[in-house]
Symmetry: D2
Amino acid sequence: MTTSAPNQQPAPTTQGDAPVINVGVLGARGRMGTEVVKAVNDADDLELVAMVDEGDWLFGLADAGTQVVVDFTRPDVVMDNIRFCIDNNIHCVVGTTGFDESRLATIAEWLAPKPEVGVIIAPNFGIGALLLMKFAQEAARFFPSVEVIELHHPNKVDAPSGTAVRTARLIAEARRAAGMPPAPDATSEGLAGARGADVDGVPVHAVRLAGLVAHQEVLMGTSGETLTLRHDSYDRASFMPGVLLAVREIGGRPGLTVGIEHLLGL
Amino acid sequence: MTTSAPNQQPAPTTQGDAPVINVGVLGARGRMGTEVVKAVNDADDLELVAMVDEGDWLFGLADAGTQVVVDFTRPDVVMDNIRFCIDNNIHCVVGTTGFDESRLATIAEWLAPKPEVGVIIAPNFGIGALLLMKFAQEAARFFPSVEVIELHHPNKVDAPSGTAVRTARLIAEARRAAGMPPAPDATSEGLAGARGADVDGVPVHAVRLAGLVAHQEVLMGTSGETLTLRHDSYDRASFMPGVLLAVREIGGRPGLTVGIEHLLGL
Amino acid sequence: MTTSAPNQQPAPTTQGDAPVINVGVLGARGRMGTEVVKAVNDADDLELVAMVDEGDWLFGLADAGTQVVVDFTRPDVVMDNIRFCIDNNIHCVVGTTGFDESRLATIAEWLAPKPEVGVIIAPNFGIGALLLMKFAQEAARFFPSVEVIELHHPNKVDAPSGTAVRTARLIAEARRAAGMPPAPDATSEGLAGARGADVDGVPVHAVRLAGLVAHQEVLMGTSGETLTLRHDSYDRASFMPGVLLAVREIGGRPGLTVGIEHLLGL
Amino acid sequence: MTTSAPNQQPAPTTQGDAPVINVGVLGARGRMGTEVVKAVNDADDLELVAMVDEGDWLFGLADAGTQVVVDFTRPDVVMDNIRFCIDNNIHCVVGTTGFDESRLATIAEWLAPKPEVGVIIAPNFGIGALLLMKFAQEAARFFPSVEVIELHHPNKVDAPSGTAVRTARLIAEARRAAGMPPAPDATSEGLAGARGADVDGVPVHAVRLAGLVAHQEVLMGTSGETLTLRHDSYDRASFMPGVLLAVREIGGRPGLTVGIEHLLGL
């Protein structure tokens, strides 16, 4: 019933000239939480002041002088966590899933009387994946042809991946905005499935292969040239640069932010 | 009504120590024939002695001292060409399509009284594509997972490509021979087509993209590692090393040979 | 001594609602010029009104009602061509090489009294290559590691390619602007050359392989993930979309523009 | 001072019809040993009967009825371990490094009076890497051009990797055997290092990138086509299929075997 607080000092410390940010981790013993703890410990400008998991009191967060909380818990507890943080003037970086419009509206209401507090809800902390989506959208109108290939380990239950579907939709939107016709395709015979799933006019192919982790390619083609954007994610550590970016930037970004793409300054 | 015979000398010439092979090209003005003419002209150990196309007499081939004919003509004339060559003791390297069991049996009959003459019928002269198929077969039993991705220009009418289907079948056969179970795949939800076409248990994905020519990848995976075999064909010139290999080897390979994979000495 | 003017109508025609642009090609019989002629002929909104090459009069361009000239000639004649076009109120899209600061200054002077005329000087019309450079610059600050691999046919005399050097320099600049330290690299033993050429701190590797055309990859890495941007150029046709883009946009872009990246609207 | 023997039954058990192999792991608490323990536990046809590490008695191996030992220890103890196993009629699969000709000769001597015992010394258990080397050697003589690119995490101290150097040497040997001239390369100007390290005439390029694990590509090219063989190793688990293969096959392969490529039946 106690908070694991590896560092009890309540006020932000400083290191050299840069102020250190006091970070608390919610869901600290989970798969993602464990990675966050490690990443915060490895960062010179961040101080891990509280690790909280199931059965621990949230009050420890406040007592430990936490300035930013990182939450990788569960949909059924995350709203309580966020409420607590807002009430205690603690910024929240949330990687837990399960947010719909109604939940986001509730959080916005909670934030209204607290103009200095920030909450970032991010479905994907992979900076590489977000950059890939952005570049694919920008390049879309220069290439008549575009297809998406995503490749994952064989334990994945959905095909194509949510990220691939989202990438295809964003590309399709960019093509429509540019008034582009459908991609050329003379296929008139063949086997069902060969040309992939049709996501808003963009073919999406899903490969499932032992050994792989999470990978995605966008292939674009025009006369005599192709452009390929590929993202490879090798382990959960790949989300940490995005988490740390959010931790560092949230102080300057009060209110509700959905998606860390807004923090990339692109 | 005359044969274009750029070089009339009837007997094989020699160059340094290596004997030069006298080559005739049938279908010399076609797309592939033009490439063959160029490739033979560029090879020091081959002499182009006859170029024959529609309307030319076949007799010119014999008069010019042709030792090996390369035939890229049409299914309706190729059998007559082969008959003529066998009768005149000229070896045949045939890239023309349309051979079935019955045609092959006929050729074998014609060859029976001519034990010194060779005929090579090759559906694919791309050495890279043949090596890829062979390696994929050999590697198959070490990798629980395998998928094929082929990528072509958007004017192709069939999907997947014939080569990809053949590659997948050969892999499936190797897996059966090794007693392997189906590849692991937990996919339980998703969009139709995302997991590709099922060719004998091997998923095959077909990408159609402006700018591309003809490309194929075989991806194989096991615990913690993957092996990828990729073949890129950039233009028709890619078939020429296979054609020249056949021209050079046919003298030592009498009788009927189907597929140049047998000449690769693997 | 005459201009090849396949279409003598001097005024812009219209097709449906969109006005057609009258295009003249300078260096029309050269390697690139031939491709431009083909591309313009294939475009519904462009009309090829003049083809000029060595020994032809430039006056034919004006007589034919040319609105935009595409110049793929030689450094020793290109300045005269540009001067003629500016004097005759014809926009210039120039792919000829050999422009230095002094030449650009001269052109700017010529353009001063002609505020409605545009000249675009482009060292590279490959839209894919330009997008790759731009994306690499934007992504640079998120990835501690970055390397460039360029792959070309073995007849290329310089290594690395000019495009790869330029790409590496732009990335290095973006890294400096973001205050990034050198990329991590523990290499302490090995063979000379293994780690590539050092271009402003970015390793650049050059592959020379029979069969290849022109290809470039930028690889970027951070904890647990990598982002790869790849551009494949398969033939000279790959420059045509960039040339046509310039032809279409130059009417709305008077004055001197260097590099079509400014036309991409990114 | 005791052996961890999770299963004390001294005789091989059977499972269905297939006999189960009793396996002991030496260096069971090391990085690789831990993976071996996991892999053996996961295999239905293998029984983990002994886990031995520093400070444990080797006798426990014999007492537990071990049939095959897997040794991932250290160069200074491995020879004693092998001696013990041979004396006790236990087969050895050895992944420990540090074997030279003299050590191999010593082991061969020890094995002489024990014709039924097998020892496999393997510098690399990655089946994918071994297949890549083998395929590269076989394909070498069909492609005038060949280069090797290896890509690793930035903590690696040597460049290029030992595997890349070995791959390049095997390719060079195959090219010599086929009487091939040097690969075409017109490079006459450029930057030092751009064309990679020269390993026996084969250019080898080493990329060091945060996020990567261990990857290798062999690129081969001829007129109009290229063949690319790529191996990606994502974690230590990638060596387990090779280790298990050796454990299963060693019973039928008495004497000294160096390299598991001999077990691949290729």
